[in-house]
C-alpha cells in the first residue's frame, strides 16, 4: 500500500515538474506562446535564446535546485533532531549563512574559482557555526531537549539576522540589498548560480540517499541505532555537514527563502510516511516544484514589478502549515 502511494506521489511530482517548466518557459512579461517556443527550438534566434534560455530557463532551474536543496536540508534536519518543527530557517542555518554571505560581500571578497566563491565558503562557515552552536547548547548530558533546540535555534537565527541587518544598514546605500538577503529573489538568476549549486546539490543528495537507511535507525534513538550497527557519531556529523551545505549554498545564490525547508518535508512525511529512503527524494522534488511555481507567481502576479519570493512562500506556506497542524490534531 505505501509503495503504491509513493509511486503515485512521485509520478504526480514529475508531471508537475514538467508543467512548471513549461509555464515558466512560455509565460513572462514579454508575450510568448507555445508557437514561439517551438519556432525557437526549430531555428533559434538570439532574442528568443536570451529570453527562453538565459532568463526563463535558468531562473526556473535555479528555483528548482534551491527549493530542492532547502527541503532536503529540512528533511535531514527533521530526522536529525527527531522534530517535525526543525528546518534550515528554524535552527538558524539560513540566517547564519546569510550573515556570512553579506560579510564576504562587504569585505569585498569577490574571489572565486570554478564558480565557487569565497562568499559560498563564508556562508557555509557561519551557517555551520550557528548550527553547531545550537546543537551544543541544546544538548544536556548527551540528551536532546527539543524545546531548548527550537528556542536556541530561533535565538541564534535572530542574532545572525540582526548582525546581517546591521552590516547592510551601515555599508549599503540601498534598500534593495536588504530585501534580497532577507526575503530572497531569483530576479538576477543566471547559469553561473546553477554551476555553483548544482554539483553541491547532487553530491549532498547522493550522500543523504546513501545514508538514508542509517537515518531511519537514528530516528529510533542513538543507542538502538548503535546496537543495530550504525556508527552514530560519524553519520550524525555527515548529516549535519550535508544539511548545512545545502542550506548555505541556497542562501548564497538566492538569499533567505523561508518556509520551504519546513513545510515541504513535513507534508511529504504526512503523505508517504517516515521512511527516509523515499522521504529524501520526494521532498527534494516537491520542494523544487513548489519553489518553481512560487517564483513563477513572484514574477508574473503583478505586471511591471516583482515580488520578493519570500513573501510568496510565506503567504502560501504559512496558512497551509496551520491547516496541516490542525489536521493532525
Amino acid at each position: 500500500m505505501p509503495q503504491k502511494k509513493r509511486i503515485r506521489l512521485l509520478s504526480l511530482l514529475f508531471l508537475l515538474l514538467f508543467a512548471g517548466l513549461y509555464i515558466s518557459l512560455v509565460k513572462g512579461s514579454v508575450k510568448t506562446s507555445f508557437v514561439d517556443l517551438w519556432n525557437f527550438l526549430v531555428h533559434s534566434d538570439q532574442t528568443h535564446a536570451q529570453i527562453f534560455i538565459h532568463l526563463r530557463l535558468s531562473r526556473a532551474i535555479l528555483a528548482f535546485l534551491v527549493g530542492a536543496s532547502l527541503s532536503l536540508s529540512g528533511a535531514i534536519l527533521q530526522g536529525y533532531f527527531q522534530n517535525p518543527m526543525a528546518g534550515p530557517f528554524v535552527v538558524g542555518v539560513s540566517s547564519g549563512a546569510s550573515f556570512g554571505a553579506v560579510l564576504a560581500l562587504i569585505l569585498g571578497l569577490n574571489i572565486s574559482f570554478w564558480g565557487f566563491s569565497l562568499q559560498n565558503v563564508f556562508a557555509f562557515g557561519s551557517g555551520f557555526a550557528i548550527v553547531s552552536l545550537v546543537y551544543i547548547l541544546s544538548q544536556r548530558r548527551g540528551v536532546f531537549k527539543m524545546e531548548t533546540l527550537l528556542l536556541t535555534g530561533i535565538a541564534a537565527g535572530a542574532l545572525a539576522s540582526s548582525l546581517t541587518s546591521f552590516l547592510i544598514f551601515f555599508k549599503s546605500e540601498s534598500f534593495e540589498q536588504a530585501v534580497f538577503w532577507l526575503l530572497g529573489s531569483f530576479q538576477l538568476a543566471d547559469w553561473n548560480h546553477i554551476r555553483v549549486i548544482f554539483p553541491i546539490f547532487i553530491l549532498c543528495f547522493l550522500m543523504s540517499q546513501r545514508l538514508a537507511k542509517d537515518m531511519n535507525l537514528l530516528v529510533m534513538g542513538d543507542e538502538i541505532a548503535q546496537s543495530l550497527g550504525c556508527s552514530v557519531n560519524r553519520t550524525r556529523k555527515i548529516f549535519l555537514v550535508v544539511s548545512t551545505l545545502l542550506a548555505s549554498s541556497s542562501v548564497s545564490v538566492s538569499g533567505i527563502i523561508g518556509f520551504v525547508g519546513l513545510i515541504i518535508p513535513h507534508w511529504v512525511r504526512l503523505l508517504i510516511g517516515p521512511d527516509h529512503r523515499y522521504l529524501f527524494i520526494s521532498s527534494s522534488i516537491m520542494g523544487g516544484v513548489f519553489l518553481m511555481f512560487c517564483d513563477f507567481l513572484a514574477r508574473t502576479i503583478f505586471s511591471g514589478s516583482e515580488l520578493p519570493i519570500g513573501i510568496i512562500t510565506a503567504a502560501v506556506g504559512a496558512p497551509f502549515f496551520i491547516y496541516l497542524l490542525n489536521q493532525r490534531r
Partner: protein, 305 residues
C-alpha cells in the same frame, strides 16, 4: 573581443597619424565608471534609460525620438511617460529590455551593481555612470552622456549654458556675509536628511548656507531630534513632491512641543523645494540651485524683477 581591440589599437593609431580628418574625432572609445571600454560607433538609435535623471538628460540633448524605454519613475518631461516602461530602477524587467533590442542602455548609480552585471552578462550594451556628489559633476555627467550618444555638440552647448547660469548666481552671492543654518528634511520619512556625500549638501554650500547635517559622511540618513534642537537651524528646507506634503511637514514641526525652541520654527521659516528637482542629478538641478539661492539670500536677487 579584447584580442580584436589589441590588434585594432595600433591600426587606429596609424589612422590617426596619417589621416587629418580623424584627428578631429579624438579617440573612438570611452570608458564608463565601472572601467568598461565602450566603442563609439554610429549614434545609437535605440536607447534605454535606467534612471529618471538620465531620461531628463537624454531629453535635454534632443534625443526624444531615440529613447525606446524608461523606468516607471521617469515622469519628466511629460513626454517621457509616453515611452515604454521597463520597470523600476532596482527591478527592471530584463525580458522587456531584451525584446526592445536596445543599442545603448544607460545605467546609473541608483541601479544595483549586481543588476548592471546581470545586464552585461546578457550581452546587452550597457553604459554605467557614477553620480558624483557636486553640482559641477552634473556638468561632466551630461557631457559623458552626450559623448556616448554622439551628441557632443549639443551637450557642450547645454553645459556651457548651465555653467553660465550657475556662475551668474554664484556671483550674486559673492558679497554674502551670513550663512544661514539649514536643516534639509525629506518629506514622509521622519527626520530623513542628507549628509556630506550628497548633492543637497553641495547645493546648500554653493548657495551660501550651512547644512547642519553636513559633517555626517552619508548621503541620506535619519537625523537625531536632540541634535536638531542643539544645532538650532535658521531654516527648514522641506523636499516634497507636492505643496500639500510640504504643508503637512510644516504643521508637524510647528505642533511638536519639544521643537518649539528652534529658530526656524519660532520664526516660521520653512521653504519648499520640489523633491524631483533636487534629488535628480540632471539639468534641472541648476533650477533647484537658483531657487535655493533665492530662498537663502533673497536680498541678493532684489534687482532681478
Amino acid at each position: 573581443m579584447k584580442t580584436i581591440l589589441k590588434f585594432a589599437a595600433p591600426a587606429l593609431y596609424f589612422l590617426f597619424i596619417f589621416n587629418p580628418i580623424s584627428h578631429a574625432n579624438q579617440s573612438l572609445t570611452i570608458k564608463d565608471d565601472l572601467g568598461n571600454t565602450h566603442v563609439l560607433g554610429d549614434p545609437p538609435q535605440r536607447i534605454i534609460s535606467l534612471a529618471p535623471n538620465v531620461t531628463e538628460i537624454l531629453f535635454a540633448l534632443g534625443l526624444e525620438n531615440r529613447i525606446i524605454g524608461v523606468t516607471r519613475f521617469c515622469n519628466h518631461p511629460p513626454e517621457a511617460q509616453t515611452k515604454n516602461r521597463i520597470g523600476g530602477m532596482v527591478d527592471p524587467d530584463l525580458e522587456k529590455i531584451i525584446a526592445l533590442h536596445p543599442d545603448l542602455i544607460i545605467a546609473f548609480r541608483g541601479n544595483p551593481l549586481r543588476l548592471v552585471q546581470r545586464i552585461k552578462s546578457l550581452d546587452l550594451p550597457v553604459f554605467v555612470l557614477e553620480s558624483g556628489t557636486t553640482l559641477e559633476s552634473v556638468l561632466s555627467l551630461i557631457q559623458r552622456i552626450g559623448r556616448v550618444t554622439r551628441k557632443e555638440k549639443t551637450a557642450k552647448n547645454l553645459t556651457d549654458h548651465l555653467n553660465r547660469r550657475f556662475n551668474k548666481i554664484k556671483e550674486r552671492l559673492n558679497n554674502v556675509r551670513t550663512r544661514p543654518k539649514v536643516f534639509i528634511n525629506l518629506h514622509g520619512k521622519g527626520l530623513w536628511t542628507s549628509g556630506k556625500n550628497s548633492f543637497m549638501n553641495d547645493m546648500v554650500r554653493e548657495a551660501r548656507g550651512r547644512n547642519i547635517a553636513g559633517e555626517v559622511t552619508r548621503a541620506w540618513f535619519s537625523y537625531n531630534r536632540e541634535e536638531l534642537i542643539h544645532k538650532n537651524p535658521d531654516l527648514i528646507l522641506v523636499l516634497a513632491k507636492t505643496e500639500k506634503d510640504f504643508l503637512e511637514v510644516k504643521t508637524w514641526f510647528s505642533q511638536e512641543a519639544h521643537l518649539e525652541s528652534i529658530h526656524a520654527v519660532q520664526n516660521d521659516k520653512f521653504s519648499f523645494l520640489d523633491e524631483d528637482l533636487v534629488t535628480r542629478p540632471g539639468p534641472r538641478i541648476f533650477e533647484a540651485f537658483a531657487q535655493l539661492a533665492r530662498i537663502l539670500h533673497p536680498s541678493c536677487f532684489k534687482d532681478e524683477k
